[in-house]
Structure formats: C-alpha cells, structure tokens
Subunit: 180 residues, 2 copies
DNA sequence: ACGAAGTTGTTATGGCCGTAACAATATTCA
DNA sequence: TGAATATTGTTACGGCCATAACAACTTCGT
C-alpha cells in the first residue's frame, strides 16, 4: 500500500533554506487554532520569493557587471520601445512615483545613457531620451536578460509557461480597484 | 465568420497603463527583426509587475498605517513561527544579506518590536526575539495581510490558485544552480 | 597549544523607492 | 482677464537592500 509518490511538503533535505522555511510555515499555519490560510500564505510567499530571487539574479548577474541596474535597464528598455518620453508617462506605465523616475534618470544621465530635453510647448515638461551609448547598452543587456530568463523558466513546458502568464495577467487585470 | 472571442492583446481602452504598455511591448518585440521572445518578456514582466504591485499595496495599505514595513513584518512573522533566531539564519531563509537583517532589526528594535539577546555559548552570536508588543503587532498584521491577499487572488478559482502555487514552487525548486 | 582559516555581526557607501513639500508652469472658470 | 486649481518635475528625508571591509570570536589543522 501507499506506494504513491509523496506529495507532502518536503520537510527533508536538499531544499534551499527559503523553501524549507516555507514548507515549515505552511504546516504550522495549518495546525494553528484557529487554522490560518496556509494556501494563501504559500501562494503569496512563492510569488514574492520568486520575484525577489529573479530580480536579484538579473541585477547581480546581468546588469551590475555592465554598470547598469535592473530598474535602470527597465527604464531604458521602455525608452527603447517608446522613444523619448516624459517622466510622468514613465511613472504611469511603471506604476512608480515621479520622484523614483527622477532619481533613476539622474543616475542614468550621470552615466551618459539618457538625456533630458526640454519640451517647447510646455515649460514644465521634459522628455527623457536614450543616447547612442544608452541605445547600444539596452540592446545588449536585453539579449542577455532574455537568455537568463529562459534559464529560469526552462523547467516549465511551453503550455505551462503560457498558463502561468495567463494566470498572472488575470490577476493584473482584476487587481483591487482601490490601489493608490 | 470570425465570431470567436477576440484573444489578441487588448490594445484598446480600459486597461491600466502598465498592462497597456506590456501589450504594446509584446507586439513590438514579436515584429522585430530578428523577432525577440515576446512570451518570455510577458511572463517575466507580469511576474515582476504583480509582485511589485502586491508588495506596494500591502506596504501602504496594511503595514505603514500600523507603523510597520513589509520587510519588517516578514521578519517578525518568521520570529513568530520560529522563536528567537540568529540573524544569520534569518538571512538564509530570506535569501537576504546579513547586513539587510542587521538594518531591519535595528529599525524594529527602535520601535520596541524585537530585541537582541546574547548567546552564552558563542560570543559572536546574537538571537533576535519578538517583544510582547511585537508579538501582538505581528498577530494583528498577519490577519489583515491574509485578508488583503485573498482579495488579490479572489479572481482565481481554488484549482487555479493551487496550479499557480505549484508552478511557482517548481521554478523555485529548480532555480538556476549558480545563484549567489 | 597555537596560528590559520572561517564565521558572525556591524558599519560605510551607494542605489532604489515612497511620501511630503515645493516652485514653475498650465488650465479652468467665474 | 485674473484668481483658483491642477499638473510637472524636483528635492529632502527615511526605509530597504547589496557589496565590501572590518573586529571579535570560534574552529580547524598541525
């Protein structure tokens, strides 16, 4: 009997410490009184943990060695696709604050990767544009980042990747309405 | 003919700016020469964007009003489950640097939520422990965070949530071996 | 026993990010 | 037209995080 594969959380060996902790936490939450929602914890934990590991990995492995940062690259990538763009637009599509864009642009401008240009029709406005050096940097970094992302997601089949993208997109579309 | 539901990326209206950008980027990447991997972009973008929105939302809506931060809460939550713990263990299970733990503990200690205790057997070591105030704070914040997480994932059915957790767990288990 | 090597926690420095406040400019509307 | 309001970008401040260097301590190896 009982020769099925063991699907209980693997509390044993050969597990990264973060997953070992997550499995332990799941068991503890389920056996609390009153029992807490262990499934909600696992979903949120895995989502945030994966995002954190992926961000850290891309940052240290791809971008820092090139003198970039991941947020800096993501901003440059948007400029690459969109062309010269106002900070307020960049903040909108990134769901970031305007001051965060200001800071990122300052760093990139110090590195000669982007430049600010005044907008004649509006004395308040500015557009941020890639320099030639920035355009080259974003093109090369994009290729490397894509390659690394493929390594991360290689453990999923094409259908599973599509499924995961669809699930993420559904949550993003039906995000709680009362976001800041 | 052609009365099927339109499954093309919705470039139209009524979309948050970040998703509108993502749909545009996907199209642009697919039509580049040579074509870039638009699916890899979408998966990575949605994953990072969702994590960012969720983190920001939990931070501003749940934890900041209570005088906490999300990283601070997550550390206290670990202490709640594990009991007094050394910073080096906390860094391991969080996949963070030791200095990040030091900083987080400093902030929490200033707020009277945790305390450091020396370890008699090891003159270098310290354990971090919840205070009574910290224990109460983490218990209340946990209930609120779980409620908010449920709102975020309410658009998925139970089977879909389980599926998503499983996909995330698979990636986490088979993470690239050469992480820092 | 004792010096070399490793571990633990901290500090310094720098980047990212949010909120709040601000100056400059644009827009609205009475 | 002119004052009230809104928008844009920036700055100041504080929290988070990483890396690198460091002091204190422990452990290892001979």
């Amino acid at each position: 009997m009982n020769s099925e594969p063991d699907t209980r959380p693997d509390l044993g060996v050969d597990m990264p410490p973060d997953l070992r902790y997550a499995a332990y936490a799941r068991e503890r939450l389920a056996t609390m009184s009153p029992p807490a929602d262990a499934e909600a914890f696992a979903l949120a934990h895995h989502l945030l943990q994966l995002a954190y590991l992926l961000v850290t990995d891309l940052e240290t492995r791809i971008h820092r060695p090139r003198g970039l940062t991941l947020p800096g690259f993501r901003l440059m990538f948007k400029l690459w696709l969109l062309g010269p763009t106002q900070p307020v637009r960049l903040a909108e599509i990134s769901a970031m604050s305007r001051s965060a864009v200001t800071n990122a642009v300052n760093t990139l401008e110090r590195g000669g990767l982007v430049e600010r240009r005044p907008v004649p029709e509006d004395g308040r406005a500015v557009v941020v544009a890639l320099t030639a050096a920035g355009e080259a940097a974003v093109r090369e970094a994009f290729a490397e980042q894509t390659r690394r992302e493929r390594e991360w997601f290689a453990c999923l089949g094409p259908a599973e990747r599509e499924q995961m993208t669809a699930l993420l997109a559904r949550i993003l579309h039906s995000r709680p309405a009362d976001l800041p």
